[in-house]
């Protein structure tokens, strides 16, 4: 191995067969870690953590909401990073990774919005406020959906991969601009509902379940990503075989 250059080592992992063999061994351990982390996190979050003196039991929504929002953002970073690698280095697994990350990230983004809305109903008295954070999260969801729609409409994978990679990168440049414009817009309009900007101070007893859940969700993301990547590699193999069968 030592006589290989850095690029060659980098491309050693690009071999889909090697990826399939390695990921096959990873799926189960990752899944078990996920189950253990989320299971213990849920126990602490739902049963063994104090209620908030102001928010009451609704504070428990936070243990799902915060990790979801975090992974919604991380999903986009994974997608954009993989797209960059796909465009620059033509790494054959990178666009598989970007494509597989998108629906997972979108689902977490959606989960964050829904749980936030469920939390907002008792706390703010409304399902939705045009708060800067909510609005940017909604726009992030739109970006995800656009990306998924682009993959779905272009049939040929090579073309779709390149177009989608361009979109993801343009999006990653635009996300901060969109975010700051929304923040600016929000501060100008002075939202009607008053709530604490920084959120509640997190006590130690709440930090443990939150950390467990965040870690568990991250492992969940990784597990799903690998399973989806495996499925995508297999799907492409089937497609190639079918095309070869038609030619024969």
């Amino acid at each position: 191995m030592s006589d290989l250059t850095l690029t060659q080592r980098f491309h050693a992992f690009a071999n889909p067969a090697r990826f399939m063999a390695l990921s096959h061994r990873l799926v189960w351990p990752l899944g078990l870690i996920t189950a253990a982390l989320i299971g213990s996190g849920l126990y602490f979050a739902l049963l063994d953590s104090p209620v908030d003196y102001q928010q009451g039991e609704t504070v428990r929504i936070m243990y799902v909401h915060v990790p979801s929002a975090w992974l919604g953002l991380m999903g986009y970073m994974v997608m954009a990073g993989a797209s960059l690698v796909a465009l620059v280095f033509r790494h054959p697994l990178a666009d598989v990774c970007a494509k597989s990350a998108a629906p997972i990230g979108a689902a977490f983004c959606f989960l964050a919005l829904v749980t936030g809305s469920l939390w907002g109903r008792p706390m703010w008295g409304t399902w939705w406020v045009w708060d800067a954070r909510l609005t940017s999260m909604l726009i992030l969801l739109f970006l995800y959906l656009g990306y998924i729609a682009l993959w779905a409409t272009i049939e040929e994978p090579v073309r779709a991969a390149r177009a989608a990679a361009v979109l993801a990168l343009v999006g990653s440049i635009n996300v901060p601009i969109v975010h700051y414009s929304v923040v600016w817009w929000n501060t100008l309009h002075q939202p009607a509902s008053v709530f604490r900007v920084g959120g509640p101070e997190v006590a130690g007893s709440m930090l443990l379940p939150l950390a467990l859940m965040a870690l568990g969700f991250t492992f969940f993301f990784a597990t799903l990503l690998i399973v989806r990547m495996r499925a995508e590699v297999l799907r492409r193999r089937v497609r190639a075989l079918r095309l070869a069968g038609m030619e024969a």
């Binding site: 465009l87 726009i139 739109f142 970006l143 959906l145 656009g146 729609a149 682009l150 409409t153 272009i154 073309r159 390149r162 177009a163 361009v166 979109l167 990168l169 343009v170 999006g171 440049i173 635009n174 601009i177 969109v178 414009s181 929304v182 600016w184 817009w185 100008l188 309009h189």
Partner: protein, 223 residues
């Protein structure tokens, strides 16, 4: 340079003579703006208050409508293949087409906007701000829109998808544009600040737009 200008002239001439270009967008703008009071009610005070926002949203929708004309026809009849093999880099070809697109849709929309402002009881002092903000902001719409148009160029009936893709990127233009038009807020200096930020958005998209559009077109052109 001559290739660049003649490409602009060709696209403008095509848009003007073949029809379905800027005129259609302006017509759509007019129809949308006249639908809004029907939905909201004829209260002139209320309409006057929200007029800048309404005009900007209608302008955004009208310019989305024209995106599929940007590259699609040239892609289908092979002109784009020929252009991509010419001496002009694809980025400049794309830039020329974006300029032509702005001249034939962005500019007519900006010219139409103050007249539609009359329909919505726009405050007299805001006309100049509105037109100024639109002149600064609409190039960003063409530049960003080109990315969506290029990404979906080989998709049949890709106009709708292109609209969905670029809509999130239009949000900063909408926010700063409305603020620079002296919309609902009375904070001193805010309009000026928003105009500067709008200019910044346009400049950023001036960099991203042609580069990303050309990259997206290459993905479709390579067979």
């Amino acid at each position: 340079m001559r290739a660049f200008t003649s490409l602009i002239r060709r696209d403008v001439a095509l848009a003007v003579h073949v029809g379905g270009g800027g005129g259609m967008a302006v017509f759509f703008f007019l129809v949308t703006v006249s639908l809004l009071p029907l939905g909201i009610g004829p209260n002139l005070n209320l309409l006057g208050q929200i007029a800048p926002g309404l005009l900007w949203v209608a302008l955004l929708l009208s310019s989305l409508l024209t995106l599929d004309r940007l590259f699609q026809a040239d892609f289908e009849d092979g002109t784009l293949d020929a252009l991509s093999m010419g001496s002009l880099p694809l980025e400049l070809t794309v830039s020329a087409k974006i300029i032509a697109h702005w001249l034939t849709t962005g500019l007519p929309l900006v010219i139409a906007a103050p007249f539609l402002g009359l329909l919505l009881n726009l405050d007299g002092s805001q006309f100049l701000d509105l037109v100024g903000a639109m002149l600064v902001g609409t190039p960003a719409l063409s530049l960003m829109g080109a990315i969506g148009a290029a990404l979906t160029v080989s998709v049949r009936r890709g106009g709708l998808l292109a609209s969905l893709l670029v809509m999130p990127f239009y949000i900063p233009v909408l926010i700063f544009g409305v603020a620079a038009s002296g919309g609902a807020m009375a904070m001193p200096g805010a309009a000026h600040q928003a105009l500067l930020l709008l200019g910044a958005v346009t400049l950023v998209s001036l960099v991203i737009g042609p580069l990303a559009s050309a990259a997206a077109l290459r993905a479709h052109l390579r067979t």
